[in-house]
Amino acid sequence: MSRSVDLRTLRRRALASATAALMAAGMAAHADAPAMLGKLGRAATPAEVKAWNIDVRADFKGLPPGSGSVARGQEVWEARCENCHGTFGESNEVFFPMVGGTTAADIKSGHVAGLLDPNAPARTTLMKLAQLSTLWDYINRAMPWNQPKSLATDDVYAVTAYILNLGNIVPADFVLSDKNMAEVQGRLPNRNGMTREHGMWDVNGKPDVQGSACMNQCASAVAITSRLPEYARNAHGDIALQNRMIGGVRGAETALPAPSTFVALAARQAPPASGVAPAQSEGLKLAQSHACLACHGIGNKIVGPALLDIHKKYAAQPKADAVRLLIVRIKSGGTGLWGNTPMPAQDHVPDVEVRTLADWIATGKFQ
C-alpha cells in the first residue's frame, strides 16, 4: 500500500523535473550571449602567455632569437636523437626516416620528384616538409621523444641545421639562426609541394569525388580485385577471440585453416571453454605504459636489447640479486653492457613499478 503511494510520488517528481529540464533547454537555445560572459576566468599575465606561446608559424612569427651550427647539431643529435632516428636520420626502426629521397634538382624546383615514384620505400620527412618553421617548432615542442621541451633554444637551431645538412640543404659549416631561416626556407626540396586547392577544409567546400546513386542493374559483372592472401589469415590474431560469442555471427577461427564447406553452428565443435585471450601481467602493462617496449622488444632487439636476452643474462644469479641489479639498471640507465647506445635514466618511474618491472624481467614469463 505505502509502496504504491511512493511510486506515484516518484512519478510525479520525475514528471516535474522533466518539465523543468525542457523549459531550461528551451531557454538555453535562445541564449546567444550567456550571462557568464566576463564573469569567469581571469586575465593571463604576460609571463604566462610567454611561457606557453611557443608556436612558430610558416612566416616564422613566434621564432625566438638564437642560432646553432651543424657541428653542434651533430653533438646534440648523437646524444639525444640518434637512438631512435639513426646516425644519419635514415633509421626506419622506430620512426619513419627523416632524411633521404631528395636531390639537388628538388632544391631548385621546390618539388620532390621522388614522390612520383610509386615504388619509393618511404616518404621521408624532408621529402614532404614544405615549411621549415614546422621542423623547428616540432623539435622545440615535442623532441626528444621521451623528454620533450628539454632542448635549449640554440640546440633546437643546431639540430634543425644538422638535419638540413644531412639532406644536403645547407653546407657542413652552416650556422642556422632566426636571421636566416626564411632564406633556408627557399631551399627546402618540397617547399612548393603543398596545395590547398581542395574542398575538404571548408564544410561548404565542393567534394572532388561523387559516388553513383544507381539502384538497379548498375554493373553487368562483379570482379573481386583484392582480398587478403591466405597466409595473412591469422596475421591479426585469432578473430574468433575478437568477436562476441553470441548472436547471428561468430568470429572465424583464423588459427585454423578456413572450413571447406559450411557447417551450421549447432553442428560445429564446441568453442574453447573460455573464448578469451590470456590476461596481461602487471609487468607487461607497465612495460607498455612506460614505453619500455618502444626500445626493447620482448623477443627482438629494437634500439635496446630484447627483454628475453636481458632475462637470460641475469638468470645465472639468484633472482633476488637479479631484481636488485635490474632495478638499478632501469633507474639509472647507462651504456656499455649491450653496446654503445645509451639507455636514458628512467628515474621518473615510481619505485614500486620499477620493482615490478625488474621482477617481471627476472622471472622471464613475458605475458
Binding site: A33, R57, R141, A142, C218, A219, L228, A252
Partner: protein, 448 residues
C-alpha cells in the same frame, strides 16, 4: 533525522533512509517474522520443485537450459556496489580495442581500434572509444589544468576547470573519425575485420562549452583572426589549426563524454570537439587556444595528415570527413551461424551534415535496396541502418552506400582512386565490400 520512522516495526526501504540502531533491530525482527511466514508457505510447493529434474533426465523433453534451473535462478546473486564502477559482463571480454600488428612500431605513438563488429546503436562505450596518441597518454590532475586563450583577442584569459564547469554547458552527439581511418586500404585489402578497416571511429555525447562563448569572453577579433590554433598539454604539444568558421559554428571545449568526465585516453580533463572534422583536430589535454590571421602549419599539417595526390602534390589542411558508411555485421572475419534470416546492420556518417539515406547491396553492387535508418539522425553523428537479408548459402557481396544531406554519395574505391590515386593515406571514404563465401566465412574484398 526528521525522516526517521515513527511507527515501530514498519519495514524499511533501503538505502534511502539512515536507520538508527533501534530501527535496525526492529526491522530485523520484522524480517524474521516475514521469513518464518515464507517458510511455512513454501512447504506446500516442495514437491513441485523436484519436477524439472524428472524432465531433464528425458533427452526429448526439451532444452536443458530451460528444464534444468541454473545456479543463478536458485541462489543469491551479487550485492549492490560489488563493483563500485561497473564493468561489462565477463562474457564480453572479446570486444576490446586492439592494435593492428605491424602498423606502428611504438605503442605510445600508435592507435587502438574500436571493435565496431560488436557495437550496437550509435554510441561508443567510453572504454571502447578508439585511441590515437602521438606521445603517450596521461591522467592529468584537473585541479592543475589551465586553458589559456590569447592572440588576436582584447584580453588574453586563463580558465581553470572550475571556471569552465561553472559555465552553462551544452551536450551534443557527434562522431569522431581519424583522418587515416581505412587508410591501410587505399592500395589493396590489408586488414581482415571492420575493427581494423574502420575502427578509428567512435561516437559520443560530448558535454562542454561552445568555443564561441570563450572567444566572445576574450573579445576575439574574428574578422582578422580567421584561424585558431588548438594546443595540447601533453609531450607532443599536439597542435592543429581550426577554421574560425568552424570555431564559431559548433566547436566545443568539452570535459565530458557519455555522461562522465572524459577518459584519460581521450583527453581528460579537457579536449576540443570539432564536429565533422578529422580526429587529429580534436586536440586532447587542451591547454591553449590562439587566435591568428594565418594557419599555423604545424607538424600534423605539413608532414603528416597531408594527402598525396597522383601528381605528387600534397593536399594540406584536409579536414572534413566526407560521407561514409560500413556494414558492421555480418562483416570481415566473421562466420554466419546458419543459413536463413539475418539482420544486416551498419553505421553511416558525414562531416558535412546528416545522413539522408543508406542503400545496401548483397550482390556486389549490381542492385541496391534502401536500408531502414534508425533514429536519432543527427548532424555530424553516426546513424544506424538495418536491412533484412536471407542467406541462401551461396556467394554474396554485402556493401553499403550512404548519401548525406548535401547530396554527396559515398564513392566506390575505384572512383576515389581515379582522382586521388592510391597513396593518399588519408580520407578514404570508399564503399566497403564484404564477401560471404559458401563456407559461411565473411572476408574483406575490393571490387574493381
Amino acid at each position: 533525522m526528521s525522516r526517521l520512522p515513527t511507527r515501530p516495526g514498519r519495514l524499511q526501504k533501503a538505502p534511502e533512509f539512515f536507520l538508527t540502531r533501534d530501527a535496525m533491530t526492529l526491522s530485523r525482527d520484522d524480517r524474521r517474522s516475514f521469513l518464518r511466514r515464507a517458510f511455512v508457505a513454501a512447504g506446500g510447493a516442495a514437491g513441485a520443485l523436484a519436477l524439472p529434474k524428472a524432465f531433464a533426465a528425458d533427452g526429448d523433453a526439451g532444452d536443458p537450459a530451460i528444464l534444468t534451473l541454473p545456479a543463478h535462478s536458485k541462489g543469491l546473486g551479487q550485492p549492490v556496489a560489488a563493483r563500485p564502477y561497473g564493468l561489462p559482463s565477463k562474457h564480453e571480454d572479446n570486444l576490446q580495442r586492439r592494435e593492428s600488428p605491424g602498423l606502428t612500431r611504438v605503442s605510445a605513438a600508435s592507435v587502438s581500434f574500436a571493435p565496431l563488429q560488436g557495437l550496437f546503436g550509435i554510441i561508443t562505450p567510453n572504454g571502447l572509444h578508439f585511441e590515437r596518441h602521438h606521445q603517450g597518454w596521461w591522467d592529468i590532475d584537473p585541479a592543475q589544468h589551465r586553458l589559456m586563450i590569447h592572440g588576436l583577442v582584447k584580453e588574453a584569459k586563463v580558465y581553470t576547470m572550475d571556471d569552465l564547469m561553472r559555465m552553462p554547458s551544452v551536450s551534443r552527439m557527434h562522431f569522431i573519425e581519424c583522418g587515416a581511418n581505412t587508410g591501410m586500404e587505399w592500395g589493396n585489402v590489408a586488414v581482415p575485420t571492420v575493427q581494423y578497416t574502420h575502427g578509428m571511429l567512435s561516437c559520443c555525447e560530448f558535454t562542454g562549452v561552445p568555443l564561441k562563448w570563450l572567444l566572445d569572453d576574450c573579445g576575439a577579433d574574428v574578422k582578422t583572426g580567421r584561424y585558431v590554433l588548438a594546443e595540447g598539454a601533453d609531450g607532443s604539444g599536439m597542435t592543429r589549426t581550426i577554421n574560425m568558421a568552424n570555431a564559431l559554428d559548433d566547436v566545443l571545449v568539452a570535459w565530458a563524454m557519455n555522461g562522465e568526465m572524459l577518459r584519460p585516453e581521450n583527453g581528460y580533463p579537457l579536449r576540443l570537439v570539432v564536429p565533422g572534422v578529422q580526429g587529429v583536430s580534436w586536440v586532447k589535454y587542451l591547454r591553449r587556444i590562439k587566435v591568428g590571421d594565418q594557419p599555423f602549419a604545424t607538424k600534423d599539417e605539413t608532414v603528416h595528415y597531408v594527402d598525396m595526390m597522383p601528381d605528387g602534390q600534397h593536399r594540406q589542411y584536409t579536414s572534413i570527413q566526407e560521407v561514409k558508411s560500413v556494414i558492421t555485421s555480418p562483416s570481415g572475419g566473421q562466420i554466419l551461424v546458419d543459413r536463413g534470416f539475418f539482420n544486416v546492420t551498419g553505421i553511416a556518417w558525414s562531416g558535412r551534415g546528416k545522413i539522408r539515406r543508406v542503400d545496401v547491396s548483397v550482390d556486389g553492387g549490381k542492385n541496391w535496396k534502401a536500408a531502414r535508418l534508425e533514429t536519432p539522425i543527427l548532424d555530424k553523428c553516426l546513424t544506424r541502418f538495418n536491412l533484412d537479408w536471407t542467406w541462401d548459402g551461396g556467394d554474396a557481396i554485402l556493401m553499403s552506400r550512404a548519401t548525406d544531406s548535401t547530396g554527396q554519395v559515398q564513392p566506390s574505391i575505384g572512383a576515389l582512386r581515379k582522382v586521388r590515386g592510391t597513396r593518399s593515406i588519408y580520407h578514404n571514404n570508399a564503399i566497403q565490400s564484404w564477401l560471404v563465401s559458401p563456407n559461411g566465412e565473411v572476408g574483406n574484398v575490393q571490387i574493381g
